[in-house]
């Protein structure tokens, strides 16, 4: 279990423009932090800063584990998989195992893969080629590949995008369940306020250069949400959806 996961006062400039401004928050083990915000607000950039791919110009990201180096699992936004390539789901998930130089799988590796596939409900897809799976199935397999490393921190970048509402709900529910059961600190980026408010313990609302962290209710009741989804410009259906989120029904 991680001892500390703390983002402290980070500043990130992209192309000379300040994207993240003194951003600070912390995440507890087993906590799911939903991240919402308009396109270009710096949500994916924040995940890359946590991964260490982008260095912040100021501030630190501290992730410490009680007795080992913390492991981060990341499910990126876009995935280029050649559908013609004969790589089976089982094999694809095994790619995520932490060892690098041993080309074969041990009994222990096989047990870990089997357990992860059961957790993510992908056991029945084991022998299927990854390219032939549906969008929802693929997302569960990508999640399994990140989980097979036994991560302490899980970063999901719009993993429910391009899925139908039922598959989105299933995916978010699965992530929430795993986060709590396995004590994984999880950051979940989505544009779906309904999903984020239903499954996240807290929400980080990010706009370019500004942020707010709080409970889903606090964020949804905040006037900033109108700015986020630019309700003055969208149609009545979107307005109704947000009103429903705010007041129930």
């Amino acid at each position: 279990m991680i001892k500390k996961f703390c983002v402290d006062q980070i500043d990130v400039y992209i192309n000379g423009e300040k994207l993240l401004d003194h951003l600070s928050f912390s995440v507890q083990p087993g906590e799911m932090l939903g991240i919402i915000g308009p396109n270009g607000a710096g949500k994916s950039t924040l995940l890359k800063v946590i991964l260490g791919v982008i260095k912040p110009q100021h501030g630190t990201v501290e992730i410490t584990h009680n007795d080992r180096r913390p492991v981060i699992g990341y499910v990126p936004q876009a995935r280029a998989i050649d559908e013609e390539m004969p790589i089976q789901t089982w094999d694809f998930i095994s790619l995520g195992l932490p060892h690098r130089l041993r080309p074969w799988l041990t009994k222990r590796d096989r047990a870990v893969i089997k357990e992860t596939m059961e957790l993510t409900d992908t056991s029945h897809l084991a022998k299927q080629p990854i390219g032939k799976l549906s969008g929802g199935e693929k997302q569960r397999v990508f999640l399994a590949q990140a989980l097979v490393r036994n991560p302490d921190v899980l970063l999901l970048d719009e993993s429910t995008a391009n899925l139908d509402p039922k598959a989105q709900e299933e995916m978010a529910s699965l992530v929430h369940e795993l986060c709590v059961q396995q004590n994984i600190s999880t950051l979940f980026i989505s544009h779906d306020i309904h999903l984020v408010s239903k499954y996240s313990h807290r929400v980080l609302y990010l706009t370019r250069g500004h942020y707010t962290v709080g409970s889903a209710e606090e964020i949804i009741d905040n006037a900033n949400l109108d700015v986020l989804y630019q309700l003055q410009h969208v149609n009545g259906m979107a307005q109704t959806a947000v009103e429903t989120m705010r007041y129930g029904g």
Partner: protein
Amino acid sequence: MFHYDFMQHAFIAGTIVAIMCGAIGVFVMARGLSFITHSFSHIGFSGASFAIYVGWDPLEGLLLFTTVGALSIGRMGVKFFRREASISVMLSVFLGLGILFLALTPQSGSFTSTILFGSVVGISLKDVWVIVILTAALLCLLTLGYKMLKFDSFDPVGAEAAGLPIRFISVAFLLLLSVGVAEAVQIVGALLVFALMTIPASTARHITQSVFMMIVVSAVLAVLGVWVGLTLSYLTSAPVSFYITAFEALCYFLALGWSALKAKYQPMKMAA
């Protein structure tokens, strides 16, 4: 035909190179490097011509030029070299250089044919040993880096996300590929290295269900191609490379047809 030393050498060297091409070809296809492989063969052609010009062994020139080429491509980035314009400039420049070195070399006629079309029957015992050592080293490195290479080749975004050293993997693979091309040029010639590196792997893609089986089938098809090519060439005196490419192409179209038939008669899976 096995009572001739040159045929024994040809079969040993051809089999070893075919195994290497079949295995490495799977990653060439997965990484979308087939045209870079083609570029390497042209770089290798000018390297071999340069070696002849300065009085070296052609393999030395091949290795020098292809490995320097691999490091340059790796440094500039594979994406840059995938551009159509970059590849056509590369192919033209190195082909031109090769022709220049051959033109500067007196009595280079037989060398031109050997480098361009291969000369498996002209392989000496010393060449066989060099090929065995190079292939063994190459396959060892491929086995050692198999997991990382597989991850980066079949799921590049996932590999980067998992923190793999993707730049290092890319350059290391280009170097292995350059050595593989230098070896294969001696068997099938600069013009057809491309065929032995890509067709068996493309065929295997249509008839296998896993990466490991794809490597096995690709290597088997490459070996069969070389054996068929050598045997028919011995019997008919036609070039080995013609029979190799004809055999590989036939297998590819059969696999393509089988794959299309399988897809037609398999129940459609509804995508979500």
